[in-house]
Symmetry: D2
Subunit: 284 residues, 4 copies
Amino acid sequence: MELTDFKMVARKYETIFFDAFGVLKNHKGLIPGIGNTFQYLNQHGIDFYVLTNDASRSPAELAASYEDLGIYDITEEKIISSGMLAREYLKLKVKSGTVAYLGTRQSAHYIETLGLKTVSIANVDLENASDIQALVFLDDEGFDWREDLNRCINLLRQQNIPAIVCNTDYSYPESRKEVAIAIGALAHMVEDIVGKKFIKFGKPDAQIFIFAYEHAAKRGGTTDKDKILMVGDTLVMDILGGNKFGLDTALVLTGNTLTKNTEMRINSLGIIPTFVCESAVIDQ
Amino acid sequence: MELTDFKMVARKYETIFFDAFGVLKNHKGLIPGIGNTFQYLNQHGIDFYVLTNDASRSPAELAASYEDLGIYDITEEKIISSGMLAREYLKLKVKSGTVAYLGTRQSAHYIETLGLKTVSIANVDLENASDIQALVFLDDEGFDWREDLNRCINLLRQQNIPAIVCNTDYSYPESRKEVAIAIGALAHMVEDIVGKKFIKFGKPDAQIFIFAYEHAAKRGGTTDKDKILMVGDTLVMDILGGNKFGLDTALVLTGNTLTKNTEMRINSLGIIPTFVCESAVIDQ
Amino acid sequence: MELTDFKMVARKYETIFFDAFGVLKNHKGLIPGIGNTFQYLNQHGIDFYVLTNDASRSPAELAASYEDLGIYDITEEKIISSGMLAREYLKLKVKSGTVAYLGTRQSAHYIETLGLKTVSIANVDLENASDIQALVFLDDEGFDWREDLNRCINLLRQQNIPAIVCNTDYSYPESRKEVAIAIGALAHMVEDIVGKKFIKFGKPDAQIFIFAYEHAAKRGGTTDKDKILMVGDTLVMDILGGNKFGLDTALVLTGNTLTKNTEMRINSLGIIPTFVCESAVIDQ
Amino acid sequence: MELTDFKMVARKYETIFFDAFGVLKNHKGLIPGIGNTFQYLNQHGIDFYVLTNDASRSPAELAASYEDLGIYDITEEKIISSGMLAREYLKLKVKSGTVAYLGTRQSAHYIETLGLKTVSIANVDLENASDIQALVFLDDEGFDWREDLNRCINLLRQQNIPAIVCNTDYSYPESRKEVAIAIGALAHMVEDIVGKKFIKFGKPDAQIFIFAYEHAAKRGGTTDKDKILMVGDTLVMDILGGNKFGLDTALVLTGNTLTKNTEMRINSLGIIPTFVCESAVIDQ
């Protein structure tokens, strides 16, 4: 398995899309030295965006969290989250009424900026639910799993409304040793039980890549896919998604894919990154 | 769709296996008149057993619940539950140590009769879990879904122990209009996340039918499969399982399969019962 | 189930995307009167495109087949096929070498216009396959299923190359009563056996919709999704895909979804079209 | 990963079930020295049976094939194949009429001993198919995949008959480097397309284990599951199936599971054999 230095890779492109978890940060915080990468990209006029399946917070809040970690280059407009796709869907397809959600109060705030009324699944009264126009899975916190997942199922059985899933991940790391169940796994279970087809946003689905591509183009970025690189730590999410959208891809080994298994994983999955790099850190 | 009177069907067999929910009872209680059926079978020397995916209680407790409803013919030894298969598995494969479980205190009691120590998942300390030899999914009550399902996942990641699922159902009816998520759906979600293969007991899998068949034979029943009938309300559980095991099967319309959809369901699933009966009630 | 007249629906939009099979034609040929629809749209300045999962022929050949049926308005540039997405992928990701394919000679011709060498799977020599850079599933004809599907599997086991699927359909109608296995089902079987992740193009995946959207925009069409309608006969392909992309959708009953089952299907799948119309025919 | 000598393991049991491919033979022929194992077992009064998912030949023909390889101890009554379960099913559930099959003439012969008429799928006339009472998937040879798989699908759409699958394997090894698609994969594809539930026999399903257990008991073998060992090379088939049935299990490394990956596979799948042995060979 030949490793390429990320600086050598990065300078070939005009725009770079980064996955967040496993590339920029991990359970301990920022990947050491990753701040340099964005300074380098800015200095060399290489545009960049962060593509994340995290819908628990708005882009503004996500940007603030990077600022808290000492990274000032990842501003609000540099962030594309699957929550933005769900918001876009609701804007186009749900013009009025109430949207029920699973997640924290905070996660729903972003939807409210559309002018839609929102109600936590915890507060849905199944006897008076006729105003509810959609159900959105945002975050695994903010509700009682037993009571409120059961309420979800009965809401979807009783009313024919779309269900939107903003994070297709099944789990996320909580510490060096532990993982936690993500909202994607809960949504998938509910989908299986009710037998309906949910609308899912997030990598590796093409829609988040086209959203990022158009967002970058509107801000003056390249529309030449040959000039865009996707960087990620997960073959089935970041690299498969980037490849399918026609981008070059770089797998980094700071997250989900361990160095010793890289070649075996690439071969057994048949998902082939254009480059493999130890990390996305650019030393200056 | 031709309906056959259940009395005409029943008298052709020496042993009858009944599904419980949807055949003997529903969310409102007993199916009216079902008590007569068991009197008739006893009078005519037809043996019978109840096969259930309910592992939340021991056969003795399940029998007591029928007694509370006024049915005295369904005694402890007439009941075959998927919990009995899990108990048999543990008896053969886990000779010592502690078994962690998801379910109520009551659901675990039955396992303790093996002499194994049990611990609720809620009380598992991941730092001191080396004595745990198996994880058993018994019931959807008795634990905190968020906290304890996350604990399950980390237990299974940290220790290589078998996970046993005693109820493969995804949901169960709670009232005329509402359903609830069953432990089978939670177990399936955990299995997906950890990527391991769980050991699952319950219809339509052959093992519960074998268990019932051997149990009946030991008590003097027929070993001629041609003389055994399986009665159920669910095509994919009861009828598929009975057919595959080589039994004749009767679909009843008091539960999951509605009269108006029967023919369409049979044709679209390709699961063909030997008989279709309005109910398992025998009027005398 | 309230039906809306298609003319009333169509006139609200600036651009209309049509599914082909079940909307414009069926196993007997054209849907009677569908020619009027395109005359009407042209007269009223409503732009239209046909989105099809058919990768067995190039857009030029597909257009010629409409011409043969007497429809002159569906020209080459009005057609978006999943084969175009595969071609785009190959153009971006496979710059040189040979592409192996499953399909007729004709189906591969379109790929050759990229300047890539192509070889039918039937002519692949596994001992000398190192020049093969990708495997593309185009059509169910043109090869020996037993011999060549086995060759596919061994090619993918021996070489780590991307596999691209241009038609995700599992079957297609051959006559009033019979269906045939489509290349999508064969590709799915091969994917299961080799355990790799294939790259799949076609409805309901977002990428074909964005391709059509950009193609229409480049030709002067609207970029306002509110002004685009997707018309299809299949809930899980056309309507789910259109909805997810943020378009209004019209289900027509000339194909896969039968009138008597419409409401039941919509409710059980939870896929909700904006309109339901008897057909896409506009009488003048 | 601690390896145990197979002789030390074998002598603890009264009956041993062996998987065939990967344990007794591989693509090159017999595992060298495996003949000694059966002499040893016979000398020490340890009963044994071979459990195989191979339904392409009758037990008599399978035994003859071992004789051709120089093993005379594996006689007809020592062999339990998934074809025997299908035959049992047909005997109990299809009393008359014609059974259509996919496979060679030879594979169907075994069914004919029931007195049922059989017809190769290649000779089924869909216009005159009303006498067909079941469709059985036996072997991947003996029919034209394209023409006859399409005929299967239309037969199952037109007639509501059970479909029986006698081999759940997806592929089998043909040489050191190449594998071939097995009938199990073709059956699974057909099942997906027609949307019906097929009846499947073969490991890891419990029914083949109970069949072997009862067969052994009838011939005087032990009924104490503690005294029976299952030996296999595949975790998800042999070991999972044996464990679930309550048997002790021994994984051997002469087939599917490679020595270097054993520990990783056991941990990632969570399927735990009682023993791991280099091979099932007993040197004398």
